[in-house]
């Protein structure tokens, strides 16, 4: 496991507890990754403290340790993707707004009074 999070590595009572370092993954990325994985587990986010946020992953009853760990690995891959998406969006959103404004600037949306 990478150094940006801590967890005990085991499934206990259908849950895996994690701590995610918000210096590596911003909170928006954590929320988006958690939303995307809602069909595999429910992520309960705690209160951020000292750049770290506790996250409990609650799985459906009967899940095996192997399956749960596979979901955790995929969750952290998704976190990396979401963090990169946030970075790209932050850098390009102004350009996107400019392009969209330019795209429709020649369209006369309002029938003006003569």
């Amino acid at each position: 496991m990478d150094g940006s999070r801590e967890h005990d590595g085991t499934l206990s009572n259908g849950e895996i507890a994690l701590v995610i370092d918000l210096r590596s993954y911003r909170l928006t990325a954590v929320k988006k990754a958690a939303y995307r994985f809602a069909d595999r587990f429910t992520a309960v986010l705690g209160s951020p403290e000292h750049d770290r946020i506790p996250v409990v992953l609650r799985f459906a009853p009967g899940i095996t340790e192997t399956a749960a760990q596979a979901h955790v690995r995929q969750f952290f891959q998704e976190l990396l993707d979401q963090e990169l998406r946030e970075h790209i969006a932050g850098e390009t959103n102004a350009v996107r707004t400019l392009i969209l404004a330019h795209a429709f600037s020649n369209v006369d949306l309002i029938e003006r009074d003569r």
């Binding site: 939303y35 995307r36 990169l84 998406r85 969209l100 020649n106 369209v107």
Partner: protein, 486 residues
């Protein structure tokens, strides 16, 4: 000195500069090794994760072929390619231009009566003798008035049911009245009857020939499969469809009839047989469609009889068979793939209403139901038959085109259908090639936006899109065939 004339610069002066800038793009994982990057107009590049990260960290060498591809596809720009901003704006406007034309497809549900008892019927048909489920001539005339209030220069009027030929007198009236009104409107006017063809006769064919009416029918595959899916009291549905197809072609021309199939559990093991039946009957395209969560398909729980993974395996096998047919010189096209490929490669995208942003609800198609109610989509009236009238946009007794287009309910639906603002969709790399299908999510999750992590629509789209991109990337022969469908 290079020895060049002073008016020429050295080649180095035209070299790409390392301080490139990112243009807006999204990405999604294609497989364990690769990502798909797309811009807002559907242009794409497939890269490794290392390449993606290097690009964002400005560590991608600008002398590489990948960098040139990224600039050509408008995913990055530099001082030498600032025209990219203008080009992207023009391309975006081109893809959105059709929205300004507003509604082109107008569906008249002339009756809900039907002689078939298909298990997957989405429209909750009624028995043949219940004329209470017929559209009245008064409502038909009011609907026609509304049709010609649409500014779209191309108007297609489609007759649906039930079985619309059970109310053929009203179809005749609508066609003749539409032609009379169009004499002063001058629209490109087309008519289509969506029929099972059991009531096709010489009288219907003569009228269709005189008024250039086309047909669309259902064909689920070989005779045994089709008849199992589409029971016809005291008759043979497959024989009626095949005979009808032949008679329409003889009377109106080969392309005057199209066919659609629906996948039932019985279809899953028969994909090659289904496609071969289409080839045998002279069709050059097939639309591999999964069951929709409406009408009898819900009431009989048929829609739950296979899951989306089964359908995806069915689809991939079907596409493999179609590509093999093409390699043997047999022309055959799969329509869902063709629509997506249009969205990937054609400047104007594709006009398929279920994969639009915003969705084609009302702005792409309007439905005039047998009872005089107006719906924003065919699926909307199907939901209404299940007791959910949330897609109803008024009544023909009081509605006008303007009242429908300015209805707050419509605006809410359109807003819900924008993937750009939907959770999970908004940062999905497949967004420019996808849609949101609000009726599907209303039917399955009681919410027009829906949670895409639980959405069979999303799972289906993701799988089909990943499969198509993989074929385009990894199989040159498949790519050659797929690109011929654009």
């Amino acid at each position: 000195m290079t020895g060049l004339h002073p008016r020429f610069h050295d080649r180095a002066a035209f070299a790409p500069r390392p301080d490139y800038r990112l243009l807006p793009f999204r990405f999604i994982r294609l497989d364990d090794r690769r990502y798909v990057m797309t811009n807002d107009v559907g242009e794409h590049v497939v890269v490794s994760r290392e390449q993606l990260v290097a690009l964002v960290k400005r560590e991608l060498p600008v002398t590489t072929q990948l960098y040139r591809e990224l600039t050509a596809k408008h995913l990055v720009f530099d001082d030498e390619s600032r025209a990219a901003l203008d080009l992207l704006a023009v391309k975006y406007r081109t893809r959105a231009a059709a929205i300004a034309d507003l509604t082109g497809l107008h569906i008249f549900v002339v009756t809900l009566r039907c002689d078939h008892s298909c298990h997957y019927c989405q429209v909750s048909r009624q028995t043949e003798d219940k004329t209470a489920f017929d559209m009245t001539r008064e409502h038909a005339d009011k609907a026609l008035a509304l049709v010609f209030q649409s500014p779209n220069p191309a108007i297609k009027i489609e007759f649906q049911g039930g079985e619309p030929l059970l109310n053929f007198a009203l179809i005749q009236h609508i066609v003749q009245e539409a032609e009379r009104r169009n004499a002063c409107h001058g629209r490109d006017l087309q008519f289509v009857i969506a029929s099972n063809l059991t009531h096709l006769d010489d009288h219907v064919l003569a009228f269709a020939r005189a008024h250039r009416v086309f047909f669309s029918t259902s064909l689920d595959g070989p005779e045994d499969l089709h008849n199992a899916n589409r029971p016809l009291r005291g008759g043979n549905s497959h024989r009626a469809a095949v005979d009808g197809i032949q008679r329409i072609r003889e009377a109106l021309g080969h392309d005057a009839v199209a066919a659609l199939m629906t996948t039932t559990p019985a279809s899953l093991a028969r994909i090659e047989d289904i496609i071969d039946e289409y080839v045998r009957l002279g069709f050059t395209s097939i639309f591999l469609r999964s069951l929709s969560p409406y009408g009898f398909a819900i009431r009989t729980r048929l829609v739950h009889s296979y899951d989306i993974a089964d359908w995806i395996a069915f689809y991939q096998r079907g596409l493999r068979h179609i590509l093999a047919l093409n390699r043997r010189g047999v022309a055959m096209r799969e329509e869902l793939a063709a629509i997506i490929l249009q969205k990937m490669f054609a400047p104007a995208g594709a006009s398929y209403v279920d994969l639009q942003s915003p969705a084609g609800v009302a702005i792409g198609a309007l439905v005039y139901n047998y009872d005089g109610k107006i719906y924003g989509s065919d699926e909307g009236r199907m939901l209404a038959e299940m007791g959910d009238d949330s897609f109803c946009l008024g009544s023909l007794d009081t509605g006008t085109f303007a009242s429908v287009m300015t209805d707050d309910r419509l605006h809410d639906m359109l807003e819900a259908s924008l993937p750009e603002s939907a959770p999970m969709c908004s940062d999905c790399g497949f967004l420019p090639w996808c849609g949101a299908d609000p009726a599907f999510h209303r039917a399955t999750q009681r919410d027009a936006v829906g949670h895409k992590a639980f959405s069979a629509f999303c799972a289906k789209q993701m799988a089909v899109l990943r499969h198509l991109v993989t074929l385009l990337e990894d199989d040159p022969e498949a790519r050659r065939v797929l690109m011929s469908w654009v």
